[in-house]
């Protein structure tokens, strides 16, 4: 309710992000000191510590943050676009398409790179299907008709997701036992494969670009939240803004899912946590959600690879396990 986005709350988010990032480098099955990490980062000498920090923890931490940020950005956008607090990054079926394609590749025994490629292709296929089926909501300029079209967009997305879910069940039923475990990990969301600096950097850059694109439409989105007619009469080109932001959300979801599988909960809850702390002005909400989502996944993943070390849990198990109580506490304390 406080639009003068309390700077301290934003600073708190940044601080939490930095602290979690540091923790992600220090904590693990091999606990490291400040000196170890510092030396590994800036004066590498080829030791085992170097490998742990530079090859394992750093890319994984960067990927975790990017994945969380992308999912939370996508969730915040879709909640506003669909005017539905229950929306999440997976609601339009983009991730469903990605998951089906990725699991098909896994069932065929493909390498991680091929699985990721398939995931991207699947996300775009689902996005294409969405744009064709929901063309009324996305391309027609008559706002009063679009009022019903928003519901149409949501329903079409939910149906694409349902179709993908059926495909996933079929794949799981038919998949050889040997692949079931990795498939389950992928579906729950797992960062075990995040060892690529390049991919992590690319994902972070994409997070920055997509957040920028979304924030550029923040004022239009503030109006769109209040209804299509309201937005249209006050000067917003409703179908164009909706088209752009659906595309931004889909790219964010598709990238996140490709990197880490379908990490749950964070894309739904992070925007709500930010809303409770900072209000619902999109200019603040969108970047703050990305920050909070990134921090949450970073925290969850650090826990995922330490709580039962040397075993590693899929991060998706812990996002909800950590996130749901936090969300409930914020909700109930008021």
């Amino acid at each position: 309710m406080n639009t003068h986005a309390p700077r301290w709350a934003f600073a708190l988010l940044v601080g939490a992000g930095v602290a979690m990032f540091a923790a992600a480098l220090f904590v693990g099955s091999v606990p490291l000191g400040v000196g170890d990490v510092w030396r590994a980062l800036w004066q590498p000498d080829g030791s085992a510590v170097d490998t742990v920090v530079r090859q394992l923890r750093l890319p994984r931490a960067l990927t975790a943050f990017a994945v969380g940020g992308l999912l939370a950005l996508s969730g915040a956008l879709l909640q506003a676009l669909l005017r539905n607090p229950l929306a999440d990054p997976y609601v339009l079926g983009i991730s469903g398409g990605a998951a089906v394609a990725a699991l098909v590749a896994m069932a065929a025994g493909a390498s991680l790179a091929v699985v990721q490629g398939a995931s991207i292709a699947g996300a775009f296929a689902a996005l294409g299907l969405l744009f064709v089926l929901a063309r009324r909501a996305l391309f027609r300029s008559e706002a009063l008709h679009a009022e019903q079209a928003t519901a149409g967009l949501l329903l079409i997305g939910v149906m694409i997701a349902a179709l993908a879910a059926a495909g996933l069940s079929l794949l799981l039923a038919l998949a050889p036992d040997g692949q079931l475990r990795s498939m389950m990990f992928w579906l729950v969301g797992d960062l075990g494969g995040a060892t690529e600096h390049g991919a992590a950097g690319l994902a972070l850059a994409l997070l920055a670009v997509l957040t920028g694109l979304a924030v550029a439409q923040a004022r239009a989105l503030d109006l769109l939240v209040r209804g299509d007619v309201q937005a249209a009469t006050q000067g917003v080109d409703v179908p164009r803004v909706r088209r752009r932001l659906v595309l931004v959300a889909a790219l964010a979801t598709g990238t996140a899912v490709t990197l880490a599988g379908a990490v749950g909960f964070v894309g739904f809850a992070a925007p709500h946590v930010v809303r409770l702390l900072l209000g619902n002005e999109q200019r603040v909400l969108l970047p703050a959600s990305a920050l909070a989502g990134g921090t949450l996944v970073l925290m969850a993943d650090t826990a995922a690879r330490t709580v039962v070390a040397p075993l590693q849990l899929p991060v998706g198990v812990l996002t909800a396990l950590l996130g749901a109580p936090l969300f409930l506490w914020l909700l109930v304390r008021r």
Partner: protein
């Protein structure tokens, strides 16, 4: 007086039901038009059409001489505001922030925004609610916030769908008086409003448009159009004109 809206041969239909046929009306600057008609006669549909958020089945609407569908959305937003009778508040938001969204057309740098929003809230008697969550307001309060939002858009033409539907008697008069006078700096604003209250209509209108919902319509200066005979026919219920303290009041039977 210069013409603001020119409606030429407009047909309106909703779900294959023809509501208005061949509407020809010219609305001049500074005029206050009231649209009256039974439920489902097409009042809201016409207002949406005049605002350019809905296309008519036939005919054309010119705003300041430009065809509505030829004007870019931002330019339309400079010329007219529309107050609809339903609003969507899926998330918590301060009343003041809701009114501030109306400044979208002024772009990112808008030093007057806050003052104009506060002026509008004061003008509609909702200034005391500025820090409240819109979702905590009563329907009447929320409706006045919606009108204040349109006012903050600072347009010469204001279109309103049943602006006093949820108002208590004091605020019915308040809204009508405000529409008659406008904010001091907006004197001479053109108003088109749909109303169900015949007496409020008579107080507000310089001109009236009656829609019967079966395609027929009558338009003209308020004194000629707002008569007991015509209103009785329009609503298919006896309406009498009675003198109360020197003023004429319409009373419907029943």
């Amino acid at each position: 007086m210069s013409c603001v809206l020119r409606v030429q041969g407009v047909d309106l239909a909703v779900a294959q039901r023809v509501l208005v046929r061949g509407l020809d009306v010219t609305i001049g600057a500074g005029e206050r038009w009231v649209i009256l008609g039974p439920n489902g006669a097409g009042k809201s549909t016409l207002l949406a059409t005049l605002a350019g958020v809905r296309s008519p089945q036939a005919g054309i609407v010119l705003l300041d001489g430009h065809a509505l569908d030829a004007l870019p959305v931002l330019e339309l937003a400079e010329r007219r505001a529309l107050v609809i009778d339903r609003w969507t508040d899926p998330f918590a938001a301060r009343v003041l922030d809701t009114v501030l969204t109306a400044r979208f057309r002024f772009g990112g740098r808008d030093p007057d925004a806050r003052q104009r929003a506060l002026d509008s809230l004061r003008a509609l008697d909702v200034l005391h609610l500025q820090q409240q969550d819109v979702r905590s307001l009563s329907r009447g309060e929320r409706q006045r916030v919606a009108i204040a939002t349109a006012a903050a858009q600072d347009t010469p033409l204001l279109l309103l769908d049943e602006p006093i539907a949820h108002q208590d008697p004091r605020h019915q008069a308040w809204v009508i008086d405000w529409l008659r006078a406008g904010l001091p700096e907006n004197r001479g604003r053109t108003v088109v409003a749909s109303l169900h209250d015949m007496n409020a209509a008579a107080r507000l209108a310089t001109h009236a448009l009656l829609l019967d919902g079966r395609g027929g319509w009558e338009a003209g200066p308020a004194q000629q159009v707002l008569t007991a005979t015509r209103l009785s026919r329009l609503f298919a219920t006896p309406v009498a004109a009675v003198e109360v303290g020197g003023a004429t009041r319409f009373v419907a039977a029943g």
